[in-house]
Every structure is written in structure tokens, then in C-alpha cells.
């Protein structure tokens, strides 16, 4: 876990993309998101839990998410985050640009190996 928050993501926007993708499957609360990302990535991705919250606030402000009162799995009051149509659109753009970049990197690496 990097002490410096500037390096909390693999690359800028990655955390946001993962949050959006996770919420696309179903609305979740904060801790739920952390667990989901850890499990799905097979514990390859360890995010600093705290850094989730500033990101969530930014995304709320951008209008990509909505929050509503709800209860956690353990029955405690919390806030549930839900993706908005604008968030969905943003996610699709991000994924497609990410895929292009990833494809590009893969090709370059392939040539370098050969």
C-alpha cells in the first residue's frame, strides 16, 4: 500500500472504472465495493480502503453515481451507491479507451519479445 495517495491507482481513472463496473452489476455500499473488487480480482488488486471515499464523492459530484439510504448486510444503516445513465456512458467510454490502450501495449510487448 503506497503511502503516497498520488499512486493509489494503477493508472488514473482505473479505480473509478472498477467502481463503475462493480456498481453496474448491482448497487452496493462502500465496504461491499471493497470486498467485491478484492474478490473479483482474486486479491491481485489491493486498494487502500480509505481512498475509495474521495473517489466516490468525486463521482457523485460528476453525476455518475447516486446514493441512497439503505442497510448493510449486517443490518446497519449505510449508504448504497448506484450507477446513473451518465455513469454508464462514462464507463463505456473508459472501457473502450482502456481496451485500445491495453491492446496497443500488448502488441508492443509482443513485438519486443519476438
Amino acid at each position: 500500500m503506497a503511502r503516497n495517495n498520488e499512486h493509489r491507482d494503477l493508472f488514473p481513472g482505473a479505480l473509478e472504472m472498477m467502481i463503475l463496473q462493480s456498481l453496474r452489476l448491482q448497487p452496493m455500499h462502500g465496504y461491499g465495493l471493497v470486498k467485491h473488487i478484492k474478490q473479483v480480482s482474486d486479491y491481485l488488486l489491493q486498494i487502500e480502503e480509505g481512498s475509495l471515499y474521495p473517489a466516490l464523492q468525486r463521482m457523485l459530484k460528476e453525476g455518475w453515481l447516486e446514493s441512497e439510504a439503505g442497510t448493510s448486510a449486517k443490518g446497519r444503516p449505510t449508504r448504497i451507491y448506484r450507477i446513473t445513465p451518465a455513469g454508464l456512458q462514462h464507463l463505456e467510454q473508459e472501457v473502450s479507451s482502456f481496451e485500445k490502450m491495453f491492446a496497443g501495449i500488448t502488441r508492443v510487448l509482443a513485438v519486443a519479445k519476438a
Binding site: 471515499y53 468525486r58 449505510t78 451518465a86
Partner: protein, 881 residues
């Protein structure tokens, strides 16, 4: 939906956030406990995994904020609390800064009033003033009025000027009607004058085309002041008849009070009628018109200047006798008004002085902040170790400076309004100056705000950078052992003290030289007796006194009548009162080779009646004065002054020499020098002496002149008798400016007194501030060295040794500072010579006095701290640490 999100109150966002985070942690702890971890370990682990809770919550919240502004506001509130906790520091800093800001804003109110003129019309910015350039006049020679033939020629150049108007601004006349006659100043203007300046009347109308022709020209427009004073602001004044210069005129309009160019406004305006004679080539040498013009579309100011210079060049070839060496100048209207006011240099000097006062004030505040920063080192260290960045610390410290700036600015504005009241009471030495409103308006307020922020930043920049540069570890480790302060701190302090001393010396030297120069001026001998003299102005109007014979006749009748008044020893008439700057004319000396064409001899020309030299008390060195027989039937004679003989005749025999004066509208002719008088200063507020020629009034009468009455008692007691005598000769002839000669000189001088008083005040303020600054910084540095002194005493140094160390330190800085100030002050006399004409600035004593004064002040400021240092109790000093 995005926009709707902004309407959800921020507080709800914050609550949501807190709920989320709290639940997050609890859920994680619960999971860890379920997996078998003890509860308190689980809590710790959860928190560690989460990160810095406060910081994260804070950063999440910041997303919703106007981050910068809000944290700046928080900084400001924090700074204010800090400042309130140290009242003596705060009061000193705020008052110091307030004084610096107040003197600057007060002086700026003068600059604002005099140098940023409010122009009457909407299109005033594109207006220009066209003037002739007088080759024989050094003072404002390039704002000389223009002759009518040139006006007509230049007006016709439509490629250059879209429109041009002419004004004869300084006419005097008598206004009569139902009340006693009154002398007024008025202007004759072309009908397009007001529309060109973009001014419209408050009542009635302005002139229309055609009213500048004989027969239709008997219409007047009143100024707001005259309308109020003489007509009781009566709105039905339009259409009423008034008597101006013994002729009937009809009032057609009243101008609003806001119509002013700068200072002077005439009492009324009449149409300008230019007669055929005035348009003829012969009228080229009578130059009395001010030209205002609108440049043609697309013409720039440099183009206009170049074109007019070329036009003047052509005229020189065409009319060599009248136009030789004369030029033409074009200025924008604002530029012309400011330039003509002649107050620019004095204001520039005062502004420079107050800027230096402000710098000294800033240096004081910087010193105070430095002092404070050192004692806060630990606090800052702790804050940095808790995660504050350096930029954040600098911002916090700058904010503290700015809060001081804001407080200082507020107090400064209060002081400014008092200062402005003081200044405007003093700025009443002549009508033009008195007419300019000085007030705390938006411009001055903006200036004060700008200066407050600027000086606050200036004062707190160095301490902020300095304080924040210290490393976290060092400050905490050194604990309370802040002791002798870092080396770089003490270097900055010495630099500040030295700089303050240098600035204060420079200011004192500059003010000292100026005040000394003005003192010499005020106590100079003018060359005539100005006590017990009553003076009054008279203008003989064309209606009744249209030829030289009638003018001479009036004066011949008036003189004996005045001489017989009880209390009057004798009386005389002069075209110009002594030492009030008579106009100069080119002269030729018979049998002498003329100087090259570019610089003919010129002399001040004064027309006087026979009794003049005796009345004024001017010594006759050789020959005789004028007599009743020197009239138009007798051969022309003149009297010259000693300077004339010295400069043009190389001190050789003058009596019997013949000279000729080039005077407008007078037939040329040789005149014989029959007498030589002592020198009279050209201006009472100047040391200058010019060559002077006196002519006999009976040989060349003038229409505008002054009366001089020598009395054996208080001169103002003669006023009723004077008025009665003049009225008995002509009931419609008003007297102008009735006052004693001492009064005349006083009005010419008051500007100087005001100027020197302001200078002296500012110099003293600078000295006081510097004194406080030196005392503060030295006593602080002594305080910081208590530990060191303790060690020294413990090692055997005695009280005297310690005091000497401190004293030597103070003296060293004082000496370096004052020597630097002296060196900076060395070129001052040269600089002043080039900006203040007629003052003497060689005064080595001023330098010596300032050096001694500054040294004594530095010594006194050091003495207290030095004695305190000597009394250090070593045990206490060391235990303290």
C-alpha cells in the same frame, strides 16, 4: 440529473459520508472478530487498513467545496485568533502599517484629484489641445495660446481635425445690472466649444452657429457658481438681461457644476467674435486662443503631432518676422490639463517620500513577523510533522500577514479620511487649487486596498518563506533551545535594520535639502519693500477706454486722487506687481551685434507710472526714474535693472544706450535708457533674477494693470477710500484682487509652506518608524541571545563587556546603514536642481546633521537593549533553556 445534485445541501453530503465510513469500519471489525481476532486488535487492524481517517474524510469533503476559498477563510480566522492572542505585536504591526497606508492614500487623493482629471464630456479622451510653442519662454512655453490667423488655417485642415473650437479663456470684465459692478473672469468661445467638449447646459441652451458674428453675439451662458452666487439659483434667469462691460447681454443658458476642465472655470461665457483685423496677417503676433479639437477619424496622436510640427515649419518660412522659431504642439486634453497645472513635480516628490515611509513601515512589520516566526518555530514544526505541506505553511503565514494588512488598511482608511480633511483645508492657496475637489472616492479606496495587500504581502513574504524552510526534525529536536536564532535569521535582521536606517537617512537628507531650500527662498530679500503696500487690479474695458489717450487720461486723473487719500504716502500704477513674474519680450540693442536668430535677448517688460520706484521702494542706482513729462509727446525712454546691464551690456555704461522692444500691437521704435535700478526677484517664490525693462505708462498705456498704494499704517485700512476714489471716476469699473502686497506674496508662497510641512511630517514619521524598528529588532536579537550572554557571563564577562557587545553590534549596523543613506543621498542636489527651479540645494550641513541625528537615534535605540543584556543573570538564562 447532474445539476440537481448541486441542490442537495452539503451538510447532508457530509453526513452520508460519515455514515458510510463508520459502517465500513464496523463491518470490517466485525468480520475480523468473526475470523477470531481479539476485538481491540481488530479495531487497530481495520483502522490501519483504512488509512488516515481524518485526512480521508477531509479530502472527501473537499470535493464538495470551493476548496481554496474556504480553506483561505479558515486560515484567516485562525490567523485572527493567533493575532488576538498577541495583542502588543498585533497593535504595533497594524498601527505601523496603517500609518504607512494612510500617508500614501492621502497623497494619492491629491494625485487622484489633480492628475486624474474628470473630463466633462463622453468623447473627451479623443480630444486634443493645439498650442503654439513659445521659443522665448522656458516655463510651459509649449502651451502658448495661438493667433487667430493660425486658428483659421489649422481649423481648415479637415484631413487632420474633424472639428476645432477656439477659446479666449482669461478675459476680465465688469458685470453690472441691478447690483453693484463686480469684476469677473470670463471666456469667449466659438459656438461649437461646448458640443466639442461634449458638455450640455443645465438650463437653457449653448451657443448656436452664427452667434459669433457682431450683432448676434450679445448672449451669455452663466457658470453654475455665478448663477448660484449672483442670481440665487433662480431657474427663470434664462432670457434675463445683464450688463457686461457696459453693454446689454441676454442670459441663454447655465452650465452644470460638473462642467469644469480643471480648477479654473470662468464666471460666464460669451461667443468669440474675431474681427477682420484679427484675421489679417498682421494679427499673427497676438496669440491668445486656446484650441480644442477632435482628431479626424483614423488620425493618431503622433500623426497629428508630426503634421502640426510640419505646418509650423512652413509658417516659419512664410512669415519669418512673426513665426520664426515658433512651433506647434498637440496634446490630449487630459495631458494638457495636467501639464498646465504644474503641480506634478511636487506630487511626484511627495509620492516618492510616502512610498519610502511605507517601505520603512513594511520593514518594521517584516521585523515583527520574523521575531514572531522564530518564537513559533516549534508550533510550525509540529504542524509540518502532522502532514502540513510547506506551501500550506507559507499560505498560513502569508494569510497572517494579509490579516494584518486588512486591519492596517481599515485603520489606514480611517486615518486617510482625517488626513484628507487636513490636506484639503491646507490646499486653498489659490482659486484654481481650491476649486479642485479632494475626496476619499472610489479611486482612493481602491488604491488604499491595493497598497494594504501589496505591503502586507511584501512584509510577510520573507518571514513566511524563511519560517517554512526550517526542517521538521531540527526544530523539534532543538526543543526550546531556539536560543541564538539561526545565522540566516540574524543576517536578515541586520539587513532590515541597516536598510531602514539607510532609507530614513535618505528621506531625512532629501527633506532636509528641500526644506532648507524653501527656507532660504522664504527669507530672501526680494529687492523691494513689500510691507505697508496695498494693491488692487483694474481692467479698462474697450467700451469706454478704447484708445491709448483715454487710458492714459484715466490714470492721470486717478493718481493724484489716490495720493490725496488720508494715510496714502504715494501711489503708482504698474502692469505687473513686483516679483509676480512679468512677461518677457525680445529686445534689440542699438550698435550691438544681434545674437544668432535662435536665441534673441529677452527681458521682462513692465509698464509703470512715475511714482512707481519710490512706492515700491526699488533703489535707483544711476540716472533718473520716470516723470510726468515722459509722455507720448516726449522721446521714448526706458529704465533697466542692474541684471540687464550686467548681462547685455557687460556692466558698461548703460545711460544713453538705445534699445528696442518687440511688443505686440505697439509700433516699434528706439528708446533711450535713462536710469538703472536695483534688481527685483522675478518671482517671490524663486531666487531667479531676470533682465528687466521698465517703460513709462504715459508713453505706452496698458488696459490691465495693478494699483500700488504706499501707506503709513495697516494697508487694508485704505480699502474703503480706494473703492470710493475709483467709483467717483467711473462707477461701473470694478476692482480685482484687493489685498496687501504681503498678502500677494503669501498667496504665492502658501504652496511651499504646505509642501515643506508635508515633507517635514513625512520625514519625522519615517524617522520615528525607523527608530521603533531598530529598537524592536535589536532588543529582540538581544532577547534571543540571552543564552549566549548567560554563557559569557558564566565564563567571566562582566556587565560592561556584555553591554559593549550589544552596543557594538547596534553601532555597526547603524554606521553601515547611515553611510549607505548618505551615499544614496549624494546625487540628490543634482536631481532636485533639475526638477525644482530656483531653489538652492548646496547644504553640506544637512548631510552632517542627518548623519549625526541618525547615529544618535541608532545609539538610543540600542542603549536600552544593551543595558538589559548587561543585567542578564547567568543562572537564570541557562536554566531557562
Amino acid at each position: 440529473m447532474q445539476w440537481l445534485g448541486r441542490f442537495i445541501p452539503r451538510q447532508r453530503r457530509y453526513d452520508d459520508l460519515s455514515v458510510s465510513i463508520r459502517e465500513h469500519l464496523e463491518e470490517k471489525i466485525e468480520e475480523l472478530v468473526e475470523s477470531g481476532m481479539p476485538r481491540h486488535e481488530a479495531e487497530q487492524a481495520a483502522r490501519r487498513g483504512f488509512g488516515n481517517l481524518t485526512l480521508i474524510e477531509e479530502r472527501s469533503r473537499e470535493v464538495w467545496r470551493w476548496q481554496f476559498l474556504e480553506s483561505a477563510w479558515a486560515d484567516a480566522r485562525f490567523a485572527l485568533r493567533q493575532l488576538l492572542k498577541a495583542p502588543s505585536f498585533t497593535i504595533t504591526a497594524v498601527v505601523t502599517l496603517a500609518l504607512g497606508i494612510a500617508v500614501n492614500a492621502t497623497m494619492f487623493s491629491l494625485v487622484d484629484a489633480f492628475l486624474l482629471p474628470r473630463l466633462p464630456g463622453h468623447n473627451a479622451e479623443s480630444l486634443v489641445v493645439v498650442s503654439s510653442i513659445n521659443p522665448d519662454q522656458s516655463f510651459l512655453g509649449d502651451t502658448n495660446p495661438v493667433s487667430p490667423p493660425n486658428y483659421f488655417a489649422w481649423r481648415a485642415d479637415h484631413r487632420l481635425f474633424a472639428d476645432m473650437s477656439a477659446a479666449d479663456e482669461f478675459r476680465t470684465g465688469s458685470l453690472a445690472g441691478d447690483r453693484q459692478p463686480e469684476a469677473i473672469g470670463y471666456a469667449a468661445v466659438t459656438p461649437n466649444y461646448f458640443s466639442l467638449l461634449g458638455a450640455s447646459p443645465q438650463l437653457g441652451r449653448t451657443f448656436v452657429q452664427g452667434e459669433d458674428s457682431e450683432g448676434r453675439n450679445h448672449v451669455v451662458i452663466l457658470s453654475h457658481g455665478l448663477w448660484e452666487r449672483r442670481f440665487g439659483s433662480d431657474p427663470s434667469v434664462i432670457g434675463r438681461g445683464v450688463r457686461l462691460n457696459r453693454e446689454n447681454y441676454t442670459v441663454i443658458g447655465v452650465m452644470p457644476a460638473t462642467f469644469r476642465l480643471l480648477g479654473f472655470i470662468p464666471d460666464l461665457w460669451t461667443p468669440l467674435v474675431l474681427t477682420a483685423a484679427e484675421q489679417a496677417p498682421g494679427a499673427r503676433s497676438s496669440r491668445f486662443l486656446h484650441l480644442f479639437a477632435q482628431l479626424a477619424p483614423g488620425v493618431t496622436l503622433p500623426q497629428a503631432k508630426a503634421s502640426m510640427a510640419a505646418a509650423a515649419e512652413r509658417l516659419q518660412h512664410e512669415f519669418p518676422t512673426t513665426e520664426q522659431r515658433w512651433g506647434a504642439a498637440v496634446r490630449t486634453l487630459p495631458d494638457f490639463l495636467i501639464y498646465n497645472f504644474g503641480i506634478r513635480t511636487a506630487l511626484a516628490v511627495l509620492m516618492t517620500v510616502v512610498t519610502m515611509v511605507l517601505l520603512i513601515a513594511c520593514a518594521n512589520v517584516t521585523g515583527l513577523l520574523l521575531t514572531r516566526a522564530v518564537s513559533r518555530q516549534q508550533e510550525l514544526g509540529i504542524r509540518m510533522s502532522l502532514g502540513a505541506t510547506r506551501a500550506r505553511m507559507v499560505r498560513q503565514l502569508l494569510t497572517e500577514g494579509l490579516v494584518i494588512g486588512v486591519l492596517g488598511g481599515a485603520l489606514g482608511v480611517l486615518l486617510t479620511s482625517a488626513g484628507i480633511r487636513l490636506i484639503s483645508a491646507g490646499m486653498s492657496f489659490n482659486d484654481a487649487v481650491r476649486a479642485v475637489p479632494i475626496s476619499l472616492d472610489t479611486n482612493v479606496l481602491l488604491f488604499a486596498v491595493g497598497v494594504s495587500f501589496g505591503s502586507a504581502l511584501l512584509a510577510s513574504m520573507a518571514p513566511a518563506l524563511k519560517a517554512s524552510r526550517s526542517s521538521v526534525g531540527a526544530d523539534l529536536k532543538s526543543g526550546s533551545r531556539t536560543a541564538s536564532g539561526s545565522r540566516s535569521h540574524s543576517r536578515l535582521r541586520s539587513f532590515l535594520v541597516g536598510g531602514e536606517i539607510a532609507l530614513a537617512s535618505l528621506l531625512l537628507i532629501g527633506s532636509g535639502l528641500l526644506i532648507h531650500g524653501v527656507y532660504l527662498l522664504e527669507h530672501q530679500s526680494l529687492g523691494f519693500r513689500h510691507d505697508h503696500l496695498l494693491t488692487a487690479g483694474l481692467t479698462l474695458d474697450q467700451a469706454r477706454y478704447h484708445d491709448a489717450q483715454r487710458q492714459a487720461q484715466f490714470v492721470r486723473a486717478l493718481m493724484p486722487a489716490l495720493g490725496q487719500l488720508p494715510g496714502v504716502e504715494n501711489a503708482a500704477v504698474t502692469s505687473d506687481l513686483p516679483s509676480t513674474g512679468a512677461g518677457s519680450v525680445p529686445i534689440h540693442i542699438k550698435g550691438r551685434q544681434e545674437p544668432p536668430g535662435s536665441a534673441p535677448h529677452t527681458a521682462a517688460d513692465v509698464v509703470v507710472t512715475p511714482g512707481y520706484f519710490q512706492v515700491a521702494g526699488i533703489t535707483l542706482l544711476e540716472g533718473r526714474g520716470f516723470t510726468e513729462n515722459d509722455d507720448d509727446a516726449a522721446p521714448r525712454v526706458v529704465v533697466v535693472n542692474h541684471e540687464f546691464v550686467h548681462r547685455f551690456l557687460q556692466d558698461r555704461e548703460a545711460l544713453g544706450m538705445q534699445i528696442q522692444l518687440d511688443i505686440n500691437n505697439a509700433p516699434p521704435g528706439w528708446a533711450t535708457i535713462v536710469g538703472v535700478t536695483g534688481d527685483v526677484k522675478s518671482f517671490s517664490e524663486d531666487t531667479r533674477i531676470d533682465p528687466e525693462v521698465y517703460e513709462s505708462y504715459l508713453q505706452r498705456p496698458v488696459t490691465s494693470f495693478s494699483l500700488m498704494l504706499r501707506s503709513d499704517a495697516e494697508p487694508n485700512g485704505l480699502i474703503p477710500g480706494l473703492r470710493r476714489t475709483v467709483a467717483s471716476l467711473d462707477a461701473e469699473l470694478p476692482l480685482l484682487r484687493v489685498m496687501s502686497m504681503d498678502g500677494v506674496i503669501q498667496t504665492q508662497k502658501v504652496g511651499n509652506t504646505m509642501f515643506t510641512q508635508l515633507l517635514a511630517t513625512f520625514a519625522l514619521l519615517a524617522l520615528t518608524l525607523a527608530c521603533i524598528g531598530i529598537y524592536g529588532l535589536i532588543s529582540y536579537s538581544v532577547g534571543q541571545r540571552t543564552h549566549e550572554m548567560g554563557i559569557r557571563v558564566a565564563l567571566g564577562a562582566n556587565t560592561g563587556d556584555i553591554s559593549r557587545i550589544v552596543l557594538r553590534q547596534g553601532m555597526k549596523i547603524g554606521a553601515i546603514g547611515s553611510v549607505a543613506g548618505l551615499l544614496l543621498g549624494l546625487p540628490l542636489p543634482k536631481i532636485f536642481d533639475s526638477i525644482f527651479m530656483g531653489l538652492i540645494f548646496s547644504a553640506p550641513a544637512v548631510y552632517l546633521a542627518v548623519f549625526v541625528a541618525i547615529f544618535v537615534v541608532a545609539m538610543l535605540a540600542t542603549l536600552g537593549p544593551a543595558r538589559r543584556a548587561g543585567r542578564v543573570n547567568p543562572a537564570a538564562a541557562l536554566r531557562n533553556e
